[in-house]
Amino acid sequence: MTRLRDVASLIRSKNAGPFVLTIDILFDTDEVYQQVVKHPALSQENVASLLGIPVDDIRLVPYPAGQAIKVSFPRPVVAGSPDDTDVTGGQQYAVLVDLDVSESAST
């Protein structure tokens, strides 16, 4: 099995303002980026379901100039609220790290 962490050079998350979370997936080469960006595991629908966010709330932006894929969505809780578990949003990328992006894998 090929996991996203095996092919990405960096997977990270952060607040984009107090009300939005954003996840970046970066690749070392354009070739790997081109392969992975088309993978069904990284469809808007599948990523939304992994994050537990309605599909219409997710913005998934392929960004070839940066060899990267960006995923942005409204924060389930506003940054720094008493029930927020991740004030800067720094660990929210964890749900995507072990995503199966094998050539044969489908969702």
């Binding site: 952060k14 607040n15 984009a16 303002g17 107090p18 009300f19 939005v20 954003t22 970046d24 970066l26 992994l50 994050l51 537990g52 913005r59 932006v61 960004y63 100039a65 940066g66 060899q67 990267a68 960006k70 942005s72 409204p74 924060r75 389930p76 506003v78 940054a79 720094g80 609220s81 008493p82 029930d83 927020d84 578990t85 991740d86 004030v87 800067t88 660990q91 929210q92 964890a94 749900v95």
Partner: protein, 458 residues
């Protein structure tokens, strides 16, 4: 195309994160037209905006080196979002630092202080006139939100900084300010293309974040020309590559093709990133789309109560085998006893959360790994209440219940939690939440106040 150039140095990504003195000196040796650094971030949550600013020796050290560099050259130093959240008193505090540093250097400087906490009555009038609109994800507000917020700031754009520099300011100390505006102000005033000026500024405001092999924060230099700009790290060991600079548009931003700035948006769809050499990247093609009407971003935070917490670790495999049901049982017991003994009810008087690190402490309901897969866990008991004494009382009573809560397999009383420190309950004081993340239609300067002062040597 003319050959004119404008160079500027970013001391680092944020005042206090540090940079090598040697890197800044290398920047000063290139005779930049100005030096800038942002001092703020909302990333740490609403606390800073709620309480006031931060200050530290690291911030003062970075500021001193940047100011000494600017004074040596006789060029402006531009600082945005003083104190972290850009409050008025943080602007004044950096004014005091400036006076002391300039005196010690035997220099006289003209300082512009730009205050960005607008009059609440003016904001309420804007709200009533329908000129305040929520940005993506912001919650609904009422007129009273402007009174209940402990601080409200308006994020200034390039225009306010340009006004200060045109008044001859050597040092511009800005309250809440767009990070990019710090670096876009002078290039825009000198007539450089707005798309390129803002795009360069957006990259520079994060210091070495745009470098391919960034290990630590450090100083960067930008060279603006008509039709292009160059991004270059000042430490020879750092490299910028076309991909690293392009990828920087991803950072803390929801769309890499649409960089939203005060007064408009940079469209990077047609941007081209090329390697000038192995360390320097040249960018072309970025386009600016001006907003109509002009808006400024309002930020605000209000106090929602007080918080007390306890933090204890669990190593007993018997508890770990049933940790979530054990936690739920403890939570129920706490609610019951607090109600019976103290007449305090959850929801009405306080909020209780027993969060389990090692189980789902980070992802919460989004956690997809279920069942026990570790040999340690941490229970964080979090109590939030409008009343400080209620939060403190519930946390202490609750902690005592949790630390001895019954484990069915053991007959008799045990201690279930290992504490890293005593006392076990910590009262962490007031807690805040963001109230405003709104755009207000205004001109670029009516919500701001300016003060000019001669500082340093007489």
């Amino acid at each position: 195309m003319s050959k004119r150039e404008l160079r500027y140095v970013a001391a680092c990504g944020m005042l206090g994160t540090g940079f090598r003195a040697k890197s800044l000196r290398a920047g000063v040796a290139r005779k930049p037209d100005f030096i800038g650094c942002d001092a703020g971030s909302n990333d740490g949550g609403p606390y800073l905006l709620g309480t006031g600013g931060i200050t530290s020796r690291a911030r003062e050290r970075d500021y001193q080196l940047a100011l000494e560099g600017a004074m040596t050259l006789g060029v402006p130093l531009v600082i945005g979002s003083c104190g972290g959240s850009g409050l008025d008193h943080s602007v004044d505090e950096m004014g005091e630092w400036t006076d002391r540093i300039a005196k010690a250097a035997g220099k006289k400087v003209r300082v512009a202080k730009i205050y960005a906490e607008p009059d609440r009555e003016v904001l309420k009038a804007k709200f009533r006139a329908g000129k305040v609109t929520p940005l993506f994800g912001a919650r609904p507000i009422e007129e009273s939100t402007f009174d209940s917020s402990t601080h409200v700031t308006a994020m200034m754009g390039a225009e306010a900084l340009q006004a200060a520099m045109s008044e001859g300011a050597d040092v511009v100390l800005a309250g809440r300010c767009s990070d990019s505006a710090i670096f876009a102000a002078m290039p825009l005033a000198r007539g450089f293309d707005a798309g390129l000026a803002w795009h360069a500024a957006k990259i520079m405001e994060c210091g070495t974040a745009a470098a391919a092999n960034r290990m630590v924060q450090d100083s960067m230099i930008c060279t603006m020309r008509d039709g292009s700009f160059d991004i270059e790290p000042l430490d020879q060991k750092f490299r910028c590559t076309p991909v690293s600079v392009a990828a920087h548009s991803l950072y803390e931003n929801s769309d890499p093709y649409r960089l939203v700035e005060p007064g408009g948006t940079v469209d990077t769809t047609a941007s081209r990133y090329t390697a000038k050499n192995e360390r320097i990247v040249t960018v072309t093609g970025s386009v600016f789309e001006a907003d109509s009407p002009y808006t400024m971003k309002l930020e605000g935070a209000e106090q929602i109560g007080y918080q007390s917490f306890a933090f204890g670790a669990i190593r007993d495999p018997v508890i770990l085998d049933q940790i979530e049901s054990w936690r739920d049982g403890a939570a129920n017991q706490i609610r019951q006893r607090i109600s019976d003994d103290l007449g305090l009810d959850e929801g009405r008087d306080y909020a209780l959360e027993l969060r389990l690190y090692g189980v789902n402490g980070v992802l919460g309901r989004r956690e997809f790994v279920h069942g026990r897969d570790g040999h340690e866990a941490v229970l964080l008991m979090l109590v939030t209440a409008a009343d400080e004494e209620v939060a403190a009382t519930v946390a202490r009573a609750g902690n005592h219940i949790a630390m001895h809560f019954h484990v069915p397999e053991w007959s008799g009383s045990i201690t279930t939690l290992a504490y890293p420190f005593g006392p076990q309950v910590i009262d962490r004081g007031p807690v805040y939440r963001f109230t405003l993340n709104h755009a207000v239609a205004t001109d670029a300067t009516e919500l701001l106040r300016y003060d000019y002062e001669e500082m340093g040597a007489k």
